[in-house]
């Protein structure tokens, strides 16, 4: 095995584990600004992973994907969300339904489950094996955060983190789709973020608060 592949292994593992850690850290954060920062770091790491792979695979279209990811998820969406969060004047997440230590434990259990169930070798091998496991862990932990947190903003961030996990999974499975598809999916995510921002301010207007506990007028 050529030497540079060893380098790729360790760099990609380093970056993906960094992404996993930012998501796990979401469990113990309370301030909205910290949530946003965790998401931003996560997105930048995703873009970095694409750029590194572009370098080693020598694939020009991956550079484009990395640049688009950085511009949209690393810059545009965090700025948009920061603006929304500041205009809504919410600083902290309410006390979650499940306390911090327990949710950290649950998150790690999720990672263990993913690693043990996917290691049966259903299909993946090569240097992206870890990446796929990490990405599915990210998707599940983000989903868990969405379920347990109460503020609507946190749900949006959880959803966006989930989409980062999805991008990572897509990347590990396909080494980057064609550029047009990459762009299209990013466009959808961006539009989704904008529309969710619109709804956040509408919830604030109609419900006074952004606590999802109050969104219970519709039942059955």
């Amino acid at each position: 095995m050529p030497k540079e592949w060893v380098v790729v292994y360790s760099i990609t593992d380093f970056i993906t584990v960094g992404m996993l850690l930012t998501v796990v850290a979401m469990n113990s954060l309370k301030r909205m600004e910290s949530f946003l920062r965790a998401y931003t770091i996560n997105s930048i790491l995703l873009a970095a992973l694409m750029a590194v792979s572009a370098f080693y695979l020598d694939a020009a279209h991956l550079y484009i994907a990395a640049a688009v990811t950085l511009a949209s998820k690393g810059v545009a969406i965090p700025l948009l969300l920061r603006k929304v969060v500041r205009s809504l004047k919410i600083t902290h997440e309410a006390e979650p339904n499940i306390n911090t230590p327990l949710s950290l434990v649950i998150s790690s259990v999720l990672v263990v489950i993913v690693y043990s169930s996917l290691s049966k070798g259903i299909f993946i091998e090569g240097f992206t094996e870890n990446t796929l496991k990490v990405s599915i862990s990210i998707i599940l932990i983000s989903l868990f955060i969405m379920i347990t947190r109460k503020k609507a903003v946190t749900q949006v961030i959880g959803l966006l983190l989930m989409e980062n996990g999805l991008f990572l999974a897509g990347f590990s499975l396909t080494y980057g789709m064609s550029t047009i598809i990459e762009l299209g999916v990013v466009f959808d995510v961006l539009m989704g973020a904008i529309i969710l921002g619109v709804f956040l301010s509408q919830i604030k207007k109609t419900f006074i608060d952004l606590d999802l506990d109050k969104l219970t007028t519709l039942k059955g």
Partner: protein
């Protein structure tokens, strides 16, 4: 031929964006829907002649199955656009929406139609995912149009749940891509449906199985299959009524179309039994869950929403049963449901205009007060309940035939029991509404304080008469549309017209090959 189908609604949306003249953008919307319907019928004609084949590598692609979906989408959006002019016009004149929201509605309406038309037109499965996600984004804005508490809550639930669900569908799409890349010896994979179909037998079955499960869960969320249906009753009950009709009549089918495309690949790779079991699981749970919740609903629109879940379950069951009858029954049921459910939403909208509520216990004697609408609506309820002589009886009968010939007696028994509960639930709530003795309160006087955009002066004298005439005219038009829809349901219950039969047979052939 195919590209204008997308461009015409886009152009109409631009017209709505650019002009503030209500007549202009209303006409633009109806005309654009009429134009795409005409084109869809021409395409159907060409498809029957065998003229529609895929160019290899082409991005836009339409076979008989796509054409069938396009016909359903365009015809229903035409009917709904005519009804929108009446319903949203009344909402505007009663001050439920302002002039800006009214225009915004039409712009989004056109974009919504465009994204839905894109779904069956694309060959690339990732682009299809984008189109389906696009329908969620556009329609979420439409669901939240009223900006009341409930509508914002419903829209929020809708966009969050469907986006989460559809994320899994994209993961499934990636996994199928990975399978294809493995099949082609580790090289580039494929996302084009035609290419995937060609290599389906050589795909790794374990990979395809995982991908297909994610796809069914993901698109199933959007298609309203239980147990991932939770957004559906809220969104359907809080959206403006014409949008409820579109959501229920065609949006759910668009998502189900996504499942169908992948199911065809999964069948070729894994064989029918796996696809059948997945479809039975989701189908029977949808039917059962919907039938139980239909017993406790007091709101007509929510009741209709649960009925949609039931009908999506029926489509899934027919699709799972497969065979010569099953696929045909699934597509025929898609067609019937796409007519019957919007019709009932239209009727509900009319009732709301008259009685100002759609709570089933507060409305009664609709047939006495509004004989024509009441009769059409009662027929629609009988059709939704699966009673003869309406179209849905035929498609459900064919489904039972498919289940019986496959020997799935347990599924059949559970379905029949749940179907009985549904029949009772629908008739109990709607029976009182339509047949009850005391007539609803007299219609309110035409409000003279018509809230209109600032640049239109308040109507006086002859102007009021003209407005009344306009209102009567658009009421007449949407009434004609409703009669046509009820008539079609009746005709489909008696015999299936040749061209439709051939189009469905061709499409079923694509699924069942």
């Amino acid at each position: 031929m195919l590209l204008p189908l997308i461009l015409i609604p886009l152009a109409a949306a631009l017209v709505c964006l650019l002009t503030g003249n209500r007549r202009v953008y209303e006409y633009a919307t109806v005309l654009s829907c009429a134009a795409v319907s005409g084109m869809a019928l021409l395409m159907a004609d060409a498809a029957l002649e065998g003229g529609m084949t895929a160019r290899p590598g082409g991005a836009i692609y339409a076979d008989a199955l796509s054409v069938f979906m396009i016909v359903v989408i365009t015809l229903l959006s035409l009917a709904t656009s005519v009804y929108s002019v009446e319903y949203m016009g009344n909402e505007l004149e009663h001050g439920h929406v302002d002039g800006k929201a009214h225009r915004y509605y039409y712009m989004l309406y056109n974009l919504f139609v465009m994204t839905m038309l894109l779904v069956p037109l694309v060959n690339n499965l990732a682009v299809m995912w984008m189109a389906i996600e696009g329908t969620t984004l556009v329609s979420a804005l439409l669901v939240g149009l009223y900006r009341k508490r409930q509508s914002v809550e419903a829209a929020w639930k809708y966009i969050i749940l469907c986006t989460v669900g559809i994320t899994f569908a994209l993961l499934g799409t990636f996994i199928v891509y990975y399978a294809s890349s493995g099949a082609s010896g580790g090289g580039k994979g494929a996302l084009e449906w035609t290419t995937l179909m060609a290599m389906a037998p050589s795909l790794n079955p374990a990979t395809v199985r995982l991908g297909f499960i994610l796809i069914v869960v993901g698109y199933g969320t959007k298609a309203g299959l239980a147990p991932v249906h939770n957004w559906l009753p809220d969104a359907h009950s809080e959206a403006p009524t014409p949008i409820s009709a579109l959501l229920s009549g065609i949006l759910l089918n668009c998502a189900f179309y996504g499942i169908i495309r992948f199911a065809v690949i999964a069948r070729a790779s894994l064989g029918q039994p796996f696809v059948r079991d997945m479809m039975f699981l989701f189908g029977i749970s949808s039917v059962v869950v919907a039938s139980i919740f239909m017993l406790i609903q007091r709101n007509a629109k929510r009741l209709l929403a649960y009925s949609s879940i039931e009908h999506m379950g029926i489509i899934a069951l027919s699709f799972g049963a497969g065979g010569p009858f099953g696929f045909y029954a699934a597509l025929l049921h898609i067609f019937n449901h796409a007519i019957g459910k919007p019709l009932m939403f239209f009727v509900t909208g009319r009732i709301k205009g008259r009685c100002d509520t759609v709570e089933t216990e507060q409305v009664s004697g609709v047939i006495k007060a509004m004989p024509l609408v009441g009769t059409v609506g009662f027929a629609g309820i009988m059709a939704l309940a699966g009673a003869p002589p309406f179209g849905m009886f035929i498609s459900e009968f064919l489904m039972l035939k498919a289940l019986a010939s496959g020997g799935h007696w347990v599924i059949m028994g559970v379905f029949l029991a749940a179907g009985g509960v549904v029949f009772y639930g629908l008739l109990r709530s709607f029976g009182g509404m339509f047949l009850g003795a005391s007539p609803p309160p007299a219609p309110a006087e035409l409000p003279m304080q018509i809230s209109s955009p600032a640049r239109i002066p308040m109507p006086v004298g002859a102007d009021v008469n003209r407005r009344l005439a306009v209102r009567r005219f658009r009421g007449l038009l949407s009434g004609i549309v409703m009669f046509l829809m009820a008539g079609t349901l009746l005709v489909l219950g008696l015999y299936i017209p040749g061209p439709l039969d051939r189009l469905i047979t061709l499409s079923a052939g694509i699924i069942g090959r």
